[in-house]
């Protein structure tokens, strides 16, 4: 038991590793991802898109696997897969049942296809495993540039459409009446999610994208109904989980996704407890 704990939590050589360029790249990537994931998370939760995000990340995995096999950049494959999935999901109506079933169908097919593509890939196994569980070595300087550009793109788009998007996500009927193009914002937001998902897949892995795109938003929602405070809180939780998870994973040399998901989950539990303690007292 102690052996396992020692293996999970060791800081032998963490200091030296922090000096390595690839580790600094990974930390920077984690910080950028935390920023965009945290900004999107409260709206993903408000729109009830958890399952759609999961489906999108599995399609990013399919795209990444196809890219591996074809010998092109995994990032490009992941972006192609997730944007395609995001558009399909974004164009679906808001009828919950239909949306859920279509996502389930696409997700299952995409995952199956991805497994098949990986099996056909003759290269190193760690590349395959990395797509599912994430890996900090996946971040080289090219990927970092892609990450920077996508981060700026997502943040700039959010700065422009945030208010109508919040309106459409929380009060659709009045938003429509006031002329908000609700039907246009849906696929647009889905594409933003897809971009962030595609960035997250190589780092935290396809299975655990939810840990950075849902948990921070769900946690913040337990504490506050203020959109601004929720966004700040979600960014903080996502940053702590991603940067903290990266650092913790260094010395053990284990996938970062487990650390990230655990930290984010603990943050969620803490927020639930605080929310419950305060929820007894109704404001007003």
């Amino acid at each position: 038991m102690n052996e396992i704990l020692d293996k999970l939590f060791t800081f032998d050589g963490t200091a030296e590793l922090l000096g390595q360029p690839f580790v600094r790249n990974a930390l920077l990537a984690a910080a950028l991802l935390g920023l965009v994931a945290g900004v999107l998370a409260p709206l993903i939760v408000a729109r009830g898109m958890g399952f759609a995000v999961h489906g999108t990340s599995e399609l990013a995995f399919t795209g990444g696997a196809a890219a591996l096999l074809l010998g092109v950049s995994v990032s490009i494959g992941a972006v192609a897969g997730s944007v395609l999935a995001g558009l399909v999901f974004g164009l679906l109506g808001l009828r919950q049942r239909e949306r859920d079933s279509v996502i389930g169908v696409v997700l299952a097919f995409g995952l199956g296809l991805g497994v098949l593509l990986l099996a056909l890939y003759p290269g190193r196994a760690s590349n395959k495993f990395g797509l599912l569980t994430g890996s900090i070595v996946s971040v080289d300087s090219t990927n970092l540039w892609v990450l920077v550009i996508v981060t700026l793109l997502v943040l700039a788009t959010m700065a422009v459409v945030y208010r109508p998007l919040l309106f459409a996500s929380t009060d659709a009927e009045v938003a429509v009446a006031r002329g908000v193009p609700v039907r246009l914002l849906s696929p647009l937001f889905a594409v933003l999610i897809a971009l962030v998902t595609a960035l997250a897949v190589p780092i935290v892995g396809a299975i655990l994208v939810l840990s950075v795109t849902i948990i921070p938003g769900a946690a913040a929602a337990r504490i506050t109904a203020s959109p601004l405070v929720a966004t700040i809180l979600a960014v903080v939780i996502a940053e702590v989980a991603l940067v903290g998870g990266t650092i913790l994973s260094l010395a053990p040399g284990l996938p970062i996704s487990g650390y990230v998901a655990t930290i984010a989950f603990l943050g969620y539990l803490a927020c639930r407890l605080v929310g419950r303690a305060r929820g007894q007292v109704r404001t007003g």
Binding site: V160, Y162, L166, T170, D171, R178, A225
Partner: protein
């Protein structure tokens, strides 16, 4: 905001329809509808289900094009997202987990349809939201999550949300539905106050005229593409309604209330206050 003036220098009507016609496929909802509603007037829009009451609101919101005629709000042709219009939807419980505080819901009514972060003018925005909250007596729960408030409190916020933009016209789609009598009175009193002090014209779609009867200046009654526009005394008579419905309809005055007999079959009812009536199609298609 400067308002366009007509040639003789008068302010334009808050709402003006000239020969407005709406068709869905081969079915004509109404044809040649002429309306002129000055600022400050309270108009009740009545009629059975499917007579186009909600469609009229959609036309004024610029969501539904007319096949013929003109539609002007405050002297401007309507367009989607145009300024000068406030909208109160049917009372529906806001889900408990909606991540908005009361003041956020009202703020969205002010500028939620605008692009950009709106960082400039934040102080002015906060002041206007505070004023709107105070006007409906919601200051006490301005910071509360909207989903945790009662139906009556939520509907007060809907009034504030619709009025915070200082609209020339207020469109209400059965805003009293499923509210209890006390809250019905509060909400209609708030709307009435506004049109008297700020000269906002009110179009009030309802199945149930009695709760608002003392406030109503004129009634627009729609039935199967036919319509009548006039004061309650002109429109709410056995003769006029029989003509509109093309069947024998009797309108009785029982104390200060109107009871319409003979049209229950069409889903129309002027029964007891607060009766739960079938919800009509809402603005979202």
């Amino acid at each position: 905001m400067t308002r366009p003036h007509t040639a003789d220098g008068r302010e334009p009507a808050a709402v003006e329809l000239r020969g407005a016609t709406v068709r869905f496929g081969t079915r004509t909802l109404w044809e040649g509808l002429d309306l002129e509603i000055p600022g400050g007037e309270f108009v009740a829009v009545l009629g059975p289900n499917g007579s186009g009451k909600t469609t009229l609101l959609r036309v004024l919101l610029g969501l539904q094009p007319v096949q013929a005629g003109e539609v002007l709000v405050d002297g401007h042709h309507v367009r989607r997202g145009g300024e000068g219009i406030g909208y109160i939807p049917q009372q529906k419980a806001i889900p408990e987990d909606v991540p908005l505080r009361a003041r956020d819901l009202v703020g969205l009514g002010l500028d939620g349809h605008h692009l950009g972060l709106g960082l400039r003018g934040r102080r002015d925005r906060a002041r206007r939201v505070d004023e709107a909250l105070a006007a409906v007596g919601a200051t006490g729960y301005a910071g509360a999550p909207v989903g945790r408030l009662s139906g009556g409190e939520q509907q007060r916020l809907r009034v504030a949300q619709a009025l915070v933009g200082d609209p020339r016209v207020l469109l209400c789609d059965e805003p009293l539905l499923s509210l209890d009598l006390a809250h019905q009175r509060t909400v209609s009193r708030l709307i009435d106050e506004r049109r008297r002090t700020a000269g906002t014209a009110v179009l009030f779609v309802t199945h149930e005229i009695n709760p608002i009867l003392p406030l109503v200046d004129r009634v627009l009654y729609l039935v199967d593409g036919r319509f009548r526009f006039g004061t309650p005394d002109e429109v709410m008579t056995s003769e006029t309604l029989s003509e509109l419905y093309r069947t024998d309809v009797e309108v009785l005055r029982v104390r200060e209330r109107l009871v319409v007999v003979g049209v229950e079959a069409s889903g129309h009812c002027h029964g007891a206050d607060g009766a739960v009536l079938p919800a009509e199609e809402s603005v979202t298609p």
